[in-house]
C-alpha cells in the first residue's frame, strides 16, 4: 500500500483546508473560453464505471480547454466487461501513457483503492454513496458568485442524504469553510446517524424549521424507485418536503436554490422554484467546467 500520488483528489473529507481554498481560488480564475494550454501533451483518461452526463462532459471540456488529450473508457465495451480487476485496468491505462485518471465508480472507496496502487493522480468523479468532491467545489464556487463569503452562511440540504455522495462532500466542504449546515428529510433518507458526520451538523424532520433563516438551499433528487424500496409514499414526501414557492419564502430573501441535477420537476421541487430568479441550478452546471479545470491543473502540477 502506498499513499496517493500528488495531485490526487479523492474526497473533501481528508483534503487540507488550504488545498480547498487554493482550488476555489484557482477555479474562479479559470476561463474555459480563453485558457492557456497548461496541460498540452498530457493524457487524461475518463474512466467511467457508471453513467454520467454533466460530470463526464465537463471534465472532458475542462481537460480540452487546457490543451490535454482525453479518452473515455466505459465499463461496457472495454476489458472491464470481461472481468478485469480495477487495478489491472489502472495499470493498463498507466502503461499506455495516462498521466491522470478521472474516475467514477459505483463502489464507495474505489478511487482510493486505485490511488493506493497507481503512481499517477486519481481524481474522484463520484464513488458510490461516498464523495463527489468536484461537485462540492463547484457548488462552493457557485455560492461564492452570489455571496461575499462562505463563513457565517447557513445552508440546508433537503432530500435523500443517505444515498448522496453530493451531500457528504458538500457537508465536509461547507462546514470546513464555516457554513452552518442543516440536513432535512424523513428518517429513511436522513438517518439520525447522519448527524455524526461532523460536529455541529443540525438535523431536522421539518422543512419549515430547516428553511428558516437559511442562505443556501440544496435540493437532492428523489428517486422514486428507491422510495418504493423504503416504503415511503411519494405523495407524503411531496407534501412534507417538496420545495415550493411558498416554502421558499421561509428562507432568507436572497437565499439561493441549488440542485446537483438531474432535477425532477414536480417531485423534490416545483417547476416554479426550478425557474425562479433565486435558482442557480444552471449556474452550477456552468461552473463545473472551470472548477474541473482547476482540479486537473492541480492534479498535473500545473497550478
Amino acid at each position: 500500500m502506498t499513499t496517493p500520488a500528488r495531485g490526487s483528489l479523492l474526497g473533501i473529507e481528508h483534503l487540507e483546508t488550504k488545498e480547498i481554498l487554493r482550488l476555489l481560488q484557482l477555479a474562479r480564475r479559470m476561463n474555459p473560453q480563453k485558457a492557456r494550454p497548461l496541460l498540452r501533451g498530457k493524457r487524461i483518461v475518463l474512466l467511467f464505471y457508471e453513467a454520467s452526463t454533466r460530470t463526464r462532459t465537463s471534465f472532458e471540456f475542462a481537460a480540452k480547454a487546457l490543451g490535454a488529450t482525453t479518452t473515455l473508457v466505459l465499463s461496457s465495451g472495454s476489458s472491464i466487461e470481461k472481468g478485469e480487476s480495477i487495478i489491472d485496468t489502472g495499470n493498463t491505462l498507466r502503461a499506455v501513457g495516462a498521466d491522470c485518471i478521472v474516475m467514477r465508480h459505483p463502489a464507495a472507496g474505489a478511487p482510493h483503492f486505485m490511488a493506493k496502487h497507481l503512481d499517477i493522480p486519481i481524481v474522484n468523479a463520484g464513488d458510490g454513496m461516498h464523495e463527489h468532491p468536484s461537485q462540492a467545489l463547484l457548488d462552493a464556487v457557485t455560492i461564492l458568485k452570489h455571496k461575499k463569503s462562505l463563513k457565517g452562511l447557513q445552508a440546508t440540504i433537503i432530500g435523500d442524504i443517505f444515498h448522496s455522495r453530493v451531500a457528504r462532500s458538500a457537508c465536509h466542504l461547507l462546514t470546513r469553510m464555516g457554513v452552518k449546515m442543516t440536513l432535512c428529510g424523513p428518517p429513511e433518507l436522513v438517518p439520525d446517524v447522519a448527524a455524526t458526520l461532523m460536529p455541529g451538523l443540525r438535523l431536522t424532520r421539518h422543512i419549515e424549521e430547516a428553511l428558516r433563516g437559511t442562505d443556501v438551499i440544496m435540493l437532492l433528487r428523489v428517486q422514486s424507485e428507491r422510495l418504493a424500496g423504503l416504503k415511503i409514499q411519494l405523495q407524503d414526501y411531496i407534501a412534507r418536503y417538496q420545495m415550493t414557492a411558498a416554502r421558499l419564502k421561509l428562507a432568507k430573501r436572497d437565499a439561493i436554490v441549488m440542485h446537483p441535477g438531474p432535477i425532477i420537476r414536480g417531485l423534490e421541487l416545483t417547476a416554479e422554484v426550478a425557474d425562479c430568479p433565486q435558482s442557480v441550478i444552471v449556474d452550477e452546471v456552468r461552473n463545473g467546467v472551470p472548477t474541473r479545470m482547476a482540479i486537473l491543473a492541480r492534479a498535473l502540477g500545473r497550478a
Partner: protein, 431 residues
C-alpha cells in the same frame, strides 16, 4: 505397536473442567492422558520429556468455527495448511464449516474430510450442512451425517431464514442430540451491506448491517429452542449486545442455547475499517463500542460458551478489490490466544482460567466432544502449552495459512503458544 509416552514437566496446569489451577506434571501415553499429578510425583518413565517450566499447560484448544476451504477451494486454504495454522495457534481440534464447493451435505463428504489423506495435523470435526447445498429448503440427512462423524449442522455463511425449516432442523437435532449452528443474519435486511451500520458506514458511504438483523434471528431461534424440547441451538460468531440478551433469555429459561464470539469482535470496532481496509471486512461485521463492551462482559460472566475464530482465508485477489466487492472474512487461528490474553486478560482482567475455559471445556461442551477439553486421566492426549507473558510480533508473511488476510499483521502481542500436542504427539513447537 510400541507405546509412545511424553512427560510434560514443571508447568502450571490450568484445566477448568477438572478445576485444576496448580503446578502439575502430565504424562501422556498411547495418545491419552495417563497421569496428572503434583510436581515430581509421576514415577512412570517416559520416552520423551517436555520442559514446561514457566509455562501454562492447558487442555488442547478447540475451535468451533473454521473454514478450511476443502473441498473445492484449495487456493484459499487446504486442510493441511489450515490445520498447520491451527496447530501454530494452539488448537488441537477444529470444527470445519460446510460452505465449501461443493457444500458438505452428504456422509461421503464428511468421510472425505476426515480421511487421513487430507494431511490434517490436528483433529478435524466436520460440521455438515443443515439443508441440501445450504439452500435453506430441505433438511439434509442429519442421522447419516452424524454417523459419518459430523458434530453439528449449519448453513454457515447464510442463515436458516425460514421459520419452518429452522423449527424442523431443531426438532431433528433434538432427536439426535445434534446442535444446529445458526449464522444469525436476517439477509432480507442486509442486502448490499458490507459493514456495520453506524457513523463509520455513513461516513464511508457504505450500506450497513444493523445490529437488529442479527438479534432478530437470535431472538426467533431462542424462542424456537425454548419450545422444542431437547433441541440444541448454537449461535455462531455472535456480535451484538441485543443478540446476547436473547441468548441470556434462553439460558435463564434452561433452553440448550450456546454461543461463540470471535477474537476480532472482542478486539476491533467498525471504525477500524478506516479508509476501506478490506482486511477489516467480515461477516458479521465489526460492531460498535457498546456491542464490544457487551461481548467482553458476556465473555467474563459466562454467557459466552466459547471463543471461536471464524478463520476465513481468502486469496489476495479476493481482498485486493473495491471494499464492497471484497470477500468477507479474515484468518484467525494463529492470533486467537494472543488476542485473548492481550485484550481479555491484560486489558479487561478476565482471569486466565476463564480464558482457558473458553478455548477448552467451553467449546467441548457445545458440541459434546467427549474426552476433549480436559486433562483428566483417560482424556485424549491433546495439550496446549503457552507462555502468557511472552511478547512477540505476528507477521502475516510467516503465517502457516495459505492466505494472508489478517488485520493483525505486525501487531505486538503478549501471550504465545509454545507447543501444541495432539494425541500425545507434538505437532507444533515455537521457534
Amino acid at each position: 505397536m510400541k507405546s509412545k509416552s511424553l512427560l510434560i514437566k514443571g508447568g502450571h496446569v490450568i484445566d477448568p473442567a477438572a478445576k485444576i489451577d496448580a503446578a502439575m506434571d502430565v504424562l501422556l501415553r498411547d495418545g491419552r492422558v495417563a497421569e496428572i499429578a503434583a510436581p515430581n510425583k509421576i514415577r512412570a518413565s517416559a520416552e520423551e520429556k517436555f520442559d514446561a517450566r514457566g509455562l501454562i499447560v492447558a487442555p488442547g484448544f478447540i475451535d468451533l468455527h473454521v473454514h478450511l476451504r476443502e473441498p473445492g477451494q484449495g487456493y484459499k486454504e487446504t486442510i493441511a495448511t489450515g490445520t498447520a495454522a491451527a496447530a501454530a495457534g494452539g488448537f488441537t481440534s477444529v470444527c470445519t464449516m460446510p460452505n465449501t464447493a461443493p457444500v458438505v451435505d452428504t456422509a461421503d463428504w464428511v468421510n472425505w474430510l476426515r480421511s487421513p489423506e487430507r494431511g490434517a495435523v490436528v483433529n478435524v470435526f466436520p460440521i455438515a450442512a443443515a439443508t441440501r447445498a445450504s439452500q435453506g429448503q430441505s433438511l439434509t440427512d442429519f442421522s447419516a451425517l452424524q454417523q459419518a462423524g459430523a458434530v453439528a449442522v449449519t448453513d454457515d455463511g447464510k442463515p436458516i431464514l425460514n421459520d419452518d425449516t429452522m423449527r424442523a432442523a431443531l426438532q431433528l437435532g433434538a432427536e439426535l442430540n445434534l446442535a444446529v449452528v445458526q449464522h444469525a443474519e436476517d439477509t432480507r435486511l442486509t442486502e448490499g451491506c458490507s459493514m456495520h451500520f453506524g457513523a463509520t458506514s455513513f461516513r464511508l458511504g457504505l450500506r450497513g448491517m444493523s445490529g437488529a438483523a442479527e438479534a432478530g434471528i437470535v431472538e426467533r431461534d431462542v424462542t424456537l429452542a425454548q419450545q422444542i424440547q431437547n433441541s440444541r441451538l448454537h449461535v455462531a460468531h455472535l456480535s451484538t449486545a441485543d443478540a446476547l440478551k436473547a441468548v441470556r433469555r434462553g439460558k435463564r429459561a434452561k433452553a440448550r442455547v450456546t454461543c461463540e464470539v470471535t477474537p476480532h469482535h472482542f478486539t476491533l470496532l467498525d471504525e477500524n475499517v478506516g479508509e476501506y481496509n478490506t482486511h477489516f471486512k467480515m461477516n458479521p461485521p465489526l460492531r460498535s463500542i457498546a456491542d464490544r463492551e457487551a461481548i467482553v462482559a458476556a465473555l467474563s460472566d459466562g454467557t459466552v460458551d466459547a471463543i471461536a475464530t471464524d478463520h476465513a482465508p481468502h486469496a489476495a485477489h479476493e481482498k485486493q478489490v473495491e471494499f464492497e466487492r471484497a470477500a468477507f472474512g479474515i484468518t484467525g487461528l494463529e492470533t486467537a490466544l494472543a488476542l485473548a490474553i492481550s485484550q481479555l486478560h491484560r486489558e479487561h482482567k478476565i482471569p486466565l482460567t476463564r480464558i482457558v475455559e473458553l478455548f477448552t471445556s467451553g467449546p467441548a461442551r457445545v458440541f459434546d466432544l467427549k474426552q476433549r477439553g480436559s486433562l483428566a486421566r483417560g482424556s485424549f492426549g491433546d495439550v496446549t502449552i503457552f507462555d502468557p507473558k511472552k511478547r512477540w510480533r505476528f507477521e502475516a508473511a510467516r503465517s502457516r495459512s495459505l492466505s494472508r488476510n489478517t488485520p493483525f499483521d505486525g501487531w505486538q502481542f503478549t501471550g504465545k503458544v509454545m507447543a501444541t500436542i495432539v494425541g500425545g504427539k507434538i505437532v507444533y513447537l515455537a521457534d
